[in-house]
């Protein structure tokens, strides 16, 4: 397998409505930044890989067709990946696969969502005439699993508030983040209205417009650039209504993590990974994913959060950028995790940089906690 690395990451400002740009303008904003960071011109791009969540979020069918010009794909191969919420991550994996296959030297990959163009709540509530319509939004779907996690491990009530406050405090150091809430603390979170018990308003992700792009190249073409070397990457999927699924601790997530640890030669994730960007759209998913990803034993995830281990100054920082809780353009959120992990090991994360970060993890999930995409990046190729 050809070794590949990220040489540039570009992100737009995330906001509830990016009315200042068209879809083409939005993706181009991220692409231009990524290519500038990567120090390449268009003639270096061998293929373009686009990823996004359902087309209903914008009302454009198969947008790689309309966006071919904006993403610089004219005359080049283009692929469009769609794996629900994990798509940002799986797109990065497919893009890297282009390079690792030996078929392409350098690829540009971009993911986006411009949810303000359509109606995100409507798009997230598909209504089949033969199914009872009790759909209560994404939070309504996940809240029962959070409740089951709480039943199993009996954490204190404030853990969710703590995660929500921490991620938004981190966002204050990330000028691109959508939610900028100065002074946010646990009390502010716990004072917000309850949405789906136990999730309160500020424990839930926003709906954002935004795009994230990366340039990935092969070892031979990196040159003197800063690189985030891809040491391991994988995807896993489970059937939606498969009997025996544990949606609190999904097997797909366990298997996917084991796969990338094995690829990257990681035996003890908690010790060897310096920081991680994981897909936490609702606060309690931080402790749940810490356990699912093997950073700690089952039932101990909430303790890591409570101890402050996952804070910026903790020993296992999670979601330094503010995470999905601070910016959530659905199609891009996965790639933002992967891209932020890359920025960390390249030393380019600015005010939310973890000192001496050498190994970082990017994680994304989607659907009914059934689609997983993850990667490990390193500042060193070996």
């Amino acid at each position: 397998m050809i070794q590949a690395g990220v040489i540039g990451v570009g992100q737009t400002n995330y906001d509830s409505k990016r009315r200042d740009v068209s879809m083409a303008g939005l993706v181009r904003e991220a692409i231009d930044k990524a290519m500038l960071a990567a120090d390449i011109e268009w003639d270096a791009v061998d293929a373009v890989i686009l990823g996004k969540a359902p087309d209903m979020f914008e009302g454009v069918v198969m947008p790689e067709l309309y966006l071919a010009d904006a993403i610089g794909a004219v005359g080049k191969p283009v692929l469009r990946v769609h794996t629900a919420g994990s798509v940002g991550g799986s797109t990065a994996v497919i893009a890297a696969s282009h390079v690792c296959s030996g078929q392409f030297k350098t690829v540009l990959t971009v993911t986006f969502e411009k949810q303000s163009e359509s109606n995100a709540t409507w798009a997230l509530s598909p209504r089949y005439p033969y199914s009872p319509h009790i759909n209560a939004g994404a939070g309504g779907y996940f809240a029962p699993f959070i409740r089951e996690y709480i039943r199993r491990h009996k954490p204190p009530e404030h853990i969710g508030w703590k995660v929500a406050a921490k991620d938004r405090q981190n966002a204050l150091k990330n000028p691109l983040a959508h939610l900028q809430i100065p002074g946010i603390d646990e009390k502010m979170v716990s004072d917000t209205p309850m949405l789906w018990e136990p999730l309160r308003y500020l424990e839930s992700c926003p709906s954002s417009d935004g795009a994230c792009a990366m340039v990935i190249t092969s070892k031979d073409t990196v040159g003197p650039r800063k690189v985030a070397w891809i040491k391991g990457m994988a995807v896993r999927s489970e059937g939606t209504l498969s009997a025996g699924r544990d949606e609190v601790n999904p097997q797909g997530g366990i298997d996917c993590a084991k796969d990338i640890y094995q690829q990257a030669g990681i035996l003890n994730p908690r010790e060897e990974i310096d920081c991680a960007e994981i897909y936490v759209p609702f606060s309690w998913y931080e402790p749940m994913w810490l356990e699912n990803l093997g950073f700690c034993e089952l039932g101990e995830g909430w303790k890591l959060t409570e101890q402050g281990a996952t804070a910026l100054n903790g020993d296992m920082p999670i979601n330094m950028s503010g995470g999905v809780l601070s910016s959530n353009p659905i199609g891009a959120s996965g790639m933002i995790r992967f891209g932020e992990a890359a920025l960390q090991v390249m030393g380019l994360a600015e005010d939310h940089q973890i000192k001496d970060a050498k190994i970082a993890m990017g994680h994304a999930y989607g659907g009914a906690a059934q689609f997983f995409a993850m990667w490990i990046v390193s500042s060193s190729p070996d």
Binding site: R19, D20, G59, T121, W122, S125, R127, Y128, P129, Y130, S131, P132, H133, I134, N135, A136, G137, G140, A143, P144, F145, R147, E148, R151, P193, M194, L195, W196, E197, E238, G239, T240, L241, S242, A243, G244, D246
Partner: protein
Amino acid sequence: MSDDQIPKDYKESLIHLEYQYTAGSATTTFLNQVKEGRLVGQACPKCKAVYVPPRGSCPRDGIATSIEVPLTDKGCIESFTVVHIPIPGNPIVPPYVCAMIRLDQADISFLHLVQDIEIDQIRIGMRVQAVWKPKDEWTHSLENIKWFAPIDEPDVDVSTLRFKPS
């Protein structure tokens, strides 16, 4: 005004599409039974998991669920949440309880409402039974069941609900 001060205009361009949704054979069979007030799941011939509502396939094994399994309308709450925001287009008034109902002998749960109980009394593992609409209102829909209400039987340990192939 500079370029970034000029407000950009936008206009709503409505999209109207009509679709004829297909329930598929398994769901059709299921809904025909629901119209008669019966809940009938389908089992996978390989792992024997009982699915309700059946979708026609067992995602564990990737084969058709072919065995019909009549079920009662009693079960337990596998988990639940109390929803405080309204559902677009639905008259139900928040807060209301949306629960994952695990019917007896079924191996997956489905989402439905729980009522006839104080919200703070609801527990994971609680035994419940369907409360049906009047018979003359029955259609091809799980909405024939208004909600699930608690029954006086001991709670279930939900950790025993996890399916294991035989």
